[in-house]
Symmetry: C2
């Protein structure tokens, strides 16, 4: 690991390839750790609005350079990762846009993709490529103190390239996901936002409401004493970052409300079964849910699959450092076979 205590002195050091991470919470910090562990010849520049967070990130080995501004972090970076709360993206994009080097790839790890893609389209210059991303990883604790380089291992990493992204940029983001052990898969930005509203944002709302119902009761002191692993697991998501939760709902409101309403209807159906004197349909409902969930846990997702990123491993070193990148940046991407895009014609 190269010591680099002086923020400005690296101009004199031999040029290393730089990756910038804007936002150094759980995801940004974990990503920095994982990248630095996997690649010794890459320099990670990080920026956090909070000075103590950036310092912690540096001493935890998540970043090489604690940049004083987001623009400073992205200067000379070939890959820029936005890992701040989604609603701060417009301001960050405005700030970094003039500092981005031509050919830079900008990606993000935000929980919603359609709105982010629109912002990137509006704000970023044509000289850089934007490829949206979303690692489906998290844990109970948030912030740099909870960062873990293994956070992404085996987890899906949704990649929403958009129609204008050059293949080289897409492959760079795929290689980033693979580098940290995640499983990249392509998904259209609009579809992504509907899917994650069901599978991630709805569980967050349900966990929050469930915790609030118990916690808001006058009997909470007694309830809390009886609460065990079932209650803790079901409400875990309520301990995530409030800002992140807020930004998710603000940037994906319609989808969140849609799935919340579907859930409320399903819950009402379950209520009717409980209230019914014939309890056989209730038993069947529990049995069906158990069977289907066990099937999912054991066998994984059903066969009808979204387009997965190519199984072939792409070395990020090749992409960022090697002749391949140079070729691609010089326009060589036209010589590569176009990857198939996601099947956006699929019904939801």
């Amino acid at each position: 690991m190269m010591g680099n205590n002086d923020k400005n002195k690296d101009k004199d050091a031999p040029k290393m390839v730089r990756i910038a991470i804007i936002g150094l919470g759980l995801i940004g910090g974990s990503l920095g750790m994982a990248v630095r562990r996997a690649l010794k010849d890459v320099q990670v520049a990080g920026f956090s609005r909070t000075v103590t967070t950036a310092r912690k990130a540096k001493s935890a080995g998540a970043i090489d350079i604690d940049a004083p501004t987001a623009a400073d972090a992205v200067r000379d970076a070939r890959l820029v990762v936005l890992a701040a709360p989604v609603m701060t993206f417009p301001a960050i994009l405005e700030e970094i846009a003039p500092a981005l080097m031509p050919g830079a790839v900008v990606t993000d790890v935000g929980s919603t993709k359609a709105q982010v893609a629109r912002w990137a389209q509006q704000i970023l210059p044509d000289t850089v490529a934007f490829v949206g991303g979303h690692p489906m990883a998290g844990k109970e604790q948030s912030g740099i103190d909870a960062a873990d380089p293994e956070l992404f291992r085996g987890k899906p990493w949704a990649i929403a390239p958009g129609s204008h992204a050059p293949e080289a940029a897409v492959r760079t983001v795929i290689s980033l996901a693979q580098l940290v052990g995640a499983e990249p898969l392509f998904v259209d930005a609009e579809e992504h936002d509907s899917y994650v509203a069901a599978i991630s944002h709805l569980p967050l709302l349900v966990a929050t409401a469930l915790f609030s119902t118990a916690n808001g009761s006058a009997a909470w002191p007694e309830l809390a004493q009886l609460a065990s692993s079932g209650f803790r697991d079901t409400t875990r998501l309520a301990s995530g970052s409030p800002q992140m939760a807020h930004d998710i709902m603000a940037s994906n409101r319609d989808n969140a409300l849609h799935w919340l309403d579907r859930f409320t209807a399903d819950l009402a159906r379950l209520r009717a079964l409980i209230a019914d004197d014939d309890t056989k349909p209730l038993l069947e409902a529990f049995a069906r849910a158990e069977l289907e969930r066990d099937n999912f846990m054991i066998n994984g997702p059903p066969r009808r699959e979204m387009e997965r990123a190519p199984i072939e491993k792409i070395g990020i070193s090749d992409m960022l450092l090697g002749s391949r990148l140079a070729d691609l940046m010089r326009g060589g991407e036209q010589t590569l076979r176009r990857m198939e895009g996601p099947d956006t014609g699929r019904k939801k």
Copy 2:
């Protein structure tokens, strides 16, 4: 460990103190393992309606004796634990009642307590004592294959003695909970059922509905690919035993509906915050839930406590085997200080 392959030959063997466990699923099996590991001089007789379950329990070390009937299991047992689905309790109590030895203590590990106490009161003879119990422990898998002697370690074990239970019987059940590493606490049966409806049965319903909402969607194959640890944790309880879930709702219907309605109202409030253009109250709601949950996870339940079982450890050997039990069974319990009962006057 005493080998005992012949179910009937133990009559000739030196008399060992016997504990009977009726029902050998996750809880019954785990309890047998934990008891046998902790006490070498106790014989655990088990009964399961399913022959293969009983055989598995024996080879997994959960029981010493695979009894052909529930009545055979409880014969000569000083402590009987009902660990079958709650709705089977009336039939089991009818069957074992004539076979119970005078002075036997009967307890259970069922998820609801008021209905069970009524059944015990109606069906069991006056010569035995019933003390309801409920270990707040579980995991994703159910059945004997998932049994684990460490399942109860550090978990609350609710004890609902009822007004007629002799102190000696209560102390026997406390000592059982302590023996397997659980933390016994007293609670009135009716209060228990309301509390667990909030903290355990409502999460079960929510997890089931949440899984069904995603799984019932035409987009499930795509959703499943994006599902990660958040979705898995929030829906974990949907993988529990359907029979157990059914029996919980059937024996605790009013409480389950009451808390389901409170949750639905809280969810509707959260929905209104999401739909509102002013998102500050939404951020505040997420922040409050996070703060309160973190506080709960770090500091545990608030101070206003239910009566805890005495901190003093009661050795189950003393209770079951030693002179103390003999004294107590001869009426010595009058000489012991009455334990304080739960504070049933508390508002919910």
